[in-house]
């Protein structure tokens, strides 16, 4: 009977079980208190039911000792919940090394996914079992949220910035994918399926899908086509900073402040180049707003991660 009436969705990722365990702990604590309170209410209401009109209640002002008890015990319990939940959350907030790098672009009302090898798909996600996936996500319009209940994880996808999430499936099958942040008329149709396959099946699927250029290749092509290379090169007379090997490092700005050369910084510099100017350069770069699509920027970022990097970038050829 419980098969037809499950109380939690399938556990299909490495974090599903830990999340459910925490859930059961909270249910146990909640049920205990809800029961305790209900029983006390019923017992007191029955036992001290008004009997005679001249009967009177005990005169009790309160008890500091009791107040301490029912302050400290719940406080202790909530601290356990807090610590447990925070540890779990941070495990999911820290991106694992060597994950496969996927990009996700949300738009009203579809999910566009690109695999590290360049294949694209819409609304669905095919992925291998037992390997962590790292998703770099943005939106072309409003806020969406990438939610896979069987993986117990979701992350808002916000226009104008990149959000990241990761998960590792540990169960083969097909699972629901929902948009969890209300995004307009067809919000409830912004759904899809996540298919978890064996490594071999995944590779077979990849070879069957239309293979586009990989994000890194696309980024390299764009870097030339958009003429980035004209200014951003290694010559001493270059009008822009050399970007080789810069990704992930700190750069000094003309204001003296320092920023990390990361995805958000690249994005901002493409769309609004003069907002954070690297020290020693003139504000010459034009904006590329309107000329590049979100996916193009994601490709450029993927390229810059590998461009001039000494070690091969994580994810592009993950083992």
């Amino acid at each position: 009977m419980w098969k037809d009436f499950p109380l939690y969705p399938e556990q299909a990722s490495t974090i599903a079980q830990p999340v459910d365990l925490l859930y059961f702990f909270l249910i146990a604590v909640s049920a205990f208190f809800a029961l305790l309170i209900s029983v006390l209410v019923v017992v007191f209401a029955a036992k001290y039911r008004k009997s005679r009109p001249d009967a009177y209640s005990a005169h009790i002002e309160g008890s500091t000792k009791l107040e301490m008890v029912w302050t400290i015990i719940p406080l202790g319990l909530t601290m356990v919940m807090f610590a447990w939940g925070t540890i779990l959350f941070f495990d999911q907030a820290r991106m694992p090394a060597g994950a496969m790098e996927f990009t996700v672009t949300g738009k009203q009302w579809m999910w566009k996914v690109q695999h590290p090898t360049g294949q694209r798909e819409i609304n669905d996600l095919h992925m291998p079992i037992g390997r962590p996936l790292r998703l770099t996500m943005t939106s072309e319009d409003v806020i969406h949220s990438y939610y896979i209940p069987a993986f117990r994880t979701k992350q808002d996808v916000v226009p104008g910035r990149y959000s990241q999430m990761w998960f590792e499936a540990n169960k083969l099958g097909t699972f629901d994918l929902f948009c969890a942040e209300y995004c307009g008329t067809k919000h409830s149709q912004m759904i899809g399926k996540v298919t978890v396959m064996t490594q071999e099946d995944y590779e077979r699927w990849l070879s069957g899908a239309v293979a586009n250029e990989t994000p890194v290749q696309a980024g390299e092509r764009l870097f030339t086509a958009l003429r980035c290379i004209t200014c951003h090169n290694a010559t001493s007379a270059a009008r822009g900073p050399n970007l080789a090997g810069q990704f992930g490092k700190e750069v000094e700005l003309s204001t003296g402040a320092k920023v990390t050369f990361d995805a958000d910084y690249v994005r901002e510099s493409i769309l609004n180049p003069n907002a954070k100017l690297v020290a020693g350069f003139q504000p010459l770069m034009p904006t590329f707003q309107g000329q590049v699509k979100e996916e193009d920027i994601l490709s450029l970022i993927a390229y810059l991660k590998t461009f001039g990097a000494t070690a091969p970038a994580a994810g592009s050829a993950a083992k």
Binding site: A55, H59, T78, G85, F89, V142, A150, G184
Partner: protein, 561 residues
């Protein structure tokens, strides 16, 4: 007349004390002008009661239409756009036009001056103004609803609301903006009244806990509501004039909107629940015929909730892209705000211990409140625990949780309070047997409606879905069935309340044998200035002195307690 407001109650010559039929605030004057231009806090409370109940019925109708759509997985009753408008209008109407004003503007307006032993609020004309502002805001909202509605969700998240929605966001923003001032004025009025107009002897710690709750609520109203006004104003400016604040395409930040919005809207949750807690304290003490347990702890827990309530808004944003470290701080502070709520629950239960408990309708609602609010409270912890929130955020789990707090808590308290003070307001009793029956129907209907939604949420059904997967259908059918029972219960109550206005049993001054100035000193219904002419209110007793005499007698007779 202008400057007499702050002076102590003086005999008013136009009320003839020897008249056979005592003049009450209801019979002091007749005609629509005497209501629409009244400055009597009790009449304004009645005006508010009529208006908020109108919005309650409208919001309830939206809810039932939504539940009808969700009876089947397919979107077969309404278009997606219509459904989205329904849940948006349901939220906007219920929150801004029913829940926020309900207890403060109706029961608070009626009772605050009487409970502290004065003849009106500090600023009676501002009090009337607040009602007019509410009506203008409400009319604007109805106008929006009739002329096409709005589909952003009551949360108005940008940039959907500021750029992409094709519905009347600006109109709704203006309506909410206007209505906010009504809250601010009510809060201001209560704070000044409670500070300056307490009767001689009514010290802070002799005040009924209802007043502490109103006071804490008023603080949130005047500190939080302006932030909401700023937020919807910026939203309106961005939408109408494309000033970039929230839309990244215009150089704005959509997460900033969420910070600003929740900075008001989380404390607003406490605007909605704190007055309810105040009502429960009154009812529990009265129907246990016993001094409230831990008076000071309950009083201070109201203030603690009001203060901590301002520091937890980020727990709505764990997966929004907010820093994980910020999330950690918000999660921690949210755990702290849970404690004063727990303290209140335990104190109410301890009040029952060795009392003389009777189970009339108000008490049924109060005991129902304690149970449902506890479930609402502990499920709030599920959402405040970051690792779990990643899964249940924006699912039906959230919907179930806040309905347990808002309906299971706040609406139960409102119903309990209405039954408790109905006779004081209108001079007649509601039918007791019907009242108890309706209370049970509402309790059952409520749980049927919202408990399945916890399960739906953990199963992964996102909120605000017009159509859903087959696997969720059983729980949705249960929920819709419950909603019809719940709706029936409310309708029944409204009918017998209206019936009792004319045919109810005439009430004595103190039918519950309750303590408190509104029962012991004010006639039923009270005259315009609340207390009999010439009676000077001096308070000597503590609040809830249900057992004082016995205690003294016993001490005097040397009997051990």
């Amino acid at each position: 007349m202008k400057s007499t407001v702050l002076t102590p109650p003086a005999p008013t010559p136009h009320l003839a004390p020897e008249a056979k039929e005592r003049t009450t605030y209801l019979t002091a004057d007749y005609g629509w002008k005497s209501w629409l231009f009244t400055v009597d806090h009790k009449r304004i409370a009645v005006l508010y009661l009529i208006s908020i109940m109108t919005f309650f019925l409208i919001g309830g109708a939206f809810a039932l239409l939504m539940r009808a759509e969700l009876l089947t997985p397919k979107g077969d009753l309404f278009e997606a756009e219509t459904y989205n408008k329904l849940f948006t209008m349901h939220g906007v109407v219920m929150i801004f036009f029913f829940l926020v004003p309900s207890i403060p503007a109706v029961l608070g307006n009626f009772l605050v001056p009487i409970m502290i032993g004065t003849k009106d609020l500090a600023f009676p004309k501002i009090n009337l103004l607040s009602w007019y502002i509410y009506v203008v805001g409400g009319a604007a909202t109805l106008f929006v609803a009739i002329t096409g509605g709005v589909d952003t969700g009551w949360t108005f998240y940008a940039p959907y609301s500021s750029t992409y929605a094709n519905t009347n966001v600006a109109g709704t923003a203006i309506a909410v903006f206007i209505t906010g001032f009504s809250s601010i004025l009510t809060g201001l009025n209560f704070i000044v009244t409670i500070h300056k107009m307490r009767a001689p002897g009514m010290t802070w710690f002799k005040m009924p806990l209802f007043l502490w709750a109103q006071y804490a609520t008023s603080l949130i109203m005047i500190l939080g509501t302006p932030v909401l006004a700023i937020t919807v104003l910026l939203l309106g400016l961005e939408r109408l004039f494309h000033i970039g604040v929230f839309d990244p395409a215009l150089g704005g930040d959509p997460v900033l909107f969420q910070h600003l919005f929740w900075f008001y809207s989380h404390p607003a949750v406490y605007i909605m629940i704190l007055p309810g807690m105040g009502v429960i304290s009154e009812i529990v003490a009265c129907f246990a015929k016993k001094r409230i347990f831990g008076y000071h702890f309950i009083a201070f827990s109201s203030l603690a909730i009001a203060i901590f309530g301002f520091l937890v808004w980020g727990h709505h944003m764990f997966v929004s892209g907010q820093s994980a470290y910020a999330g950690m701080v918000f999660s921690f502070l949210t755990m702290l705000v849970a404690i004063p709520s727990a303290v209140k629950v335990f104190n109410w239960i301890a009040t029952l211990y060795k009392g003389q408990v009777s189970l009339e309708t108000p008490m049924l609602y109060a005991l129902g409140f304690i149970g449902l609010f506890t479930i609402g409270g502990v499920t709030g912890l599920f959402l405040a625990v970051m690792g779990l929130d990643r899964h249940v955020h924006d699912t039906y789990f959230v919907v179930a949780h806040f309905h347990y707090v808002m309906v299971g808590g706040m609406v139960m308290a409102f119903m309990g309070g209405m039954h408790f003070w109905w006779s004081k307001m209108f001079g007649r009793m509601y039918p007791e047997a019907m009242g108890q029956f309706a209370a049970v129907v509402i309790f059952v209907g409520f749980n049927f409606t919202f408990f399945p939604q916890f399960l739906l949420g953990y199963m992964g059904m996102p909120r605000r879905y017009h159509q859903y997967n087959e696997e969720f259908v059983i729980l949705n059918v249960l929920s819709t069935a419950g909603a019809t029972i719940l709706g029936g219960g409310f309708l029944m109550s409204i009918c017998y309340f209206i019936w009792s206005l004319k045919w109810g049993k005439p009430a004595t001054q103190n039918p519950w044998e309750a303590k408190g100035l509104e029962w012991e000193k004010a006639p039923t219904p009270p005259p315009t200035f609340n207390f009999p002419d010439g009676e000077r209110i001096v308070v000597t007793e503590d609040a809830y002195a249900y057992t004082e005499e016995e205690a003294h007698d016993h001490v005097a007779a040397g009997v051990k307690k």
